[in-house]
């Protein structure tokens, strides 16, 4: 019961910024956003004290092979997951490999820094103005420009992943 009300509340809060929202699960609303609207949407949630940031998940979406386009045409979907009780809101933006970026949300939610560092390190997403871009989990001698959670990464020198 509460969950439904919370979902309706978050839908109202995010309506001005979002594309077509959809209930992905009984307790989750999926909110597609343009990158430019992300910050305003997150601010709306923070100001209204709707829930807390549970995680930021990256999902690699490489360019489909059959389209024959260059591999650089892939995207990373970045999902900002918020929870209020059992209700979840997933704010989703698509960031192209080339020239794409997301703004940091650390000024609104300081704890986002660890997730943003993960995104930068493991997916190669550019996060503008994020407070620290130092390596968090990969080794110091990890080569630049290799992003292990992209589907195109299948290990070094034929080692299996």
């Amino acid at each position: 019961m509460d969950t439904i009300q919370e979902l309706e509340r978050v839908e109202t809060l995010l309506k001005p910024y979002a594309g077509e929202m959809r209930r992905g699960e009984a307790n989750r609303v999926d909110v597609p956003l343009e990158v430019g609207q992300l910050k305003a949407a997150v601010k709306a949630l923070v100001d209204a004290r709707w829930g807390y940031l549970g995680a930021i998940a990256g999902v690699d979406q490489p360019a489909p092979v059959e389209q024959g386009g260059p591999a650089a045409n892939g995207h990373t979907e970045v999902i900002y997951i918020f929870f209020q009780g059992a209700a979840a809101a997933a704010l989703r933006v698509l960031v192209p490999y080339e020239g794409g970026s997301v703004p940091t949300i650390c000024d609104l939610i300081p704890s986002a820094t660890l997730y943003e560092r993960e995104l930068i390190e493991l997916f190669g997403v550019t996060v503008t103005d994020t407070p620290t871009t130092e390596k968090l989990v990969l080794p110091d001698d990890w080569p630049d420009g290799v992003y292990p959670l992209r589907k195109s990464f299948t290990g070094f020198d034929g080692q299996q992943v």
């Binding site: 998940a57 989990v137 992943v161």
Partner: protein, 392 residues
Amino acid sequence: MDLEPNKKFVVPIGPQHPALKEPGHFEFAVDGEIVTGATVRLGFVHRGIEKSAESRTYVQNLYLMERVCGICSHVHGTAFTIGVEHLAGVTVPPRANAIRVLVAELERIHSHMLWLGVAAHEGGFDTLFMYSWRDREKVMDILEEISGNRVHYSANVIGGVKFDISEEQRGKILSSLDFLEERTRHYLKVVNEDETFLGRTVGVGIMTREQAESLGAVGPTARASGVERDIRVDAPYAGYEQFPVRMITDTRGDLHARFVVRIEELFEAYRVIREILDHMPEGELTARVPRRIPAGETISRVEAPRGELLYYIKSNGTDMPERVKVRTPSLCNWGSITSVAVGHKLADMPMLLVGIDPCFSCNDRTITIKSAGVDLGWTWEDLRQHGIEAYR
């Protein structure tokens, strides 16, 4: 040494066991004895589990996820299976749900007691450390009795659980709980009354509710600062709807509060386990689950001993997941350390670090070992063959 007055003096701690025998690296900037800044570097035992998950079937992944953490293996398995079952549209039998909760609470007991020992040790109180670890053996014995294993009990299968609880096991669990409850009362007394212990915990490392919320703290660390958040209560999963737990909070936000909250949670765990053993639903242990999981996404959350554990699972309709994202509780709690440390004495750092009950396997998830050019890493096939040979 640089003696310029305005330069900071940085004390590196780690990566070899900064507070407990696991790797993490911290740099504390100090002014005399007082910490003025702190940074953290993780990843020393990063294993690339999320990547590995994408090339394994759901069943193989269950075993992989259980190995994210050796302390709370069951909650990882539970979070993963609940997510997969949800995607597959499978309803788990009530008896299986009850057993999942039973094992989860046994795991919480063993984890909290392990922590109590480590925390006491960091405080220089080795007697309490020895006692709590001795008593913890009781719960390890129960876990071994019901599952055959002390650590990776591997209770879950996708669609249910592997083992039942017999009448004889029920009796053993109940008598062990009586012993543990009495011992826990003793620990609570020690933690609340021992002068030296109070001196090291009361008023140390205070994190206000606002700080806890903005830093993203979770679990007992957050609840000790008055943040009312417990997935078992907020979004009950498995058998927690039928066997509800009471949320334990404390508003003081210091190290002492973190001790009290965890010890109080032990009593709550004993109560819930007795409740389950008295009202165990009858029925099957497993439901059938298709090998291929329909396309979709789900987020499943459980309350691990250290706090909220989150799995994001995306299925593409095959027998392997498209993406699995694991957000473990320790990751969230690190942020609280680097902020709360400021203004405290360097000597309080081990206690503060251990106060969040940090678990490194929690946040570091491939490691490849290379020695003089020889690759000591094993491929999946090597491991598979080894498994077949070893258990032939």
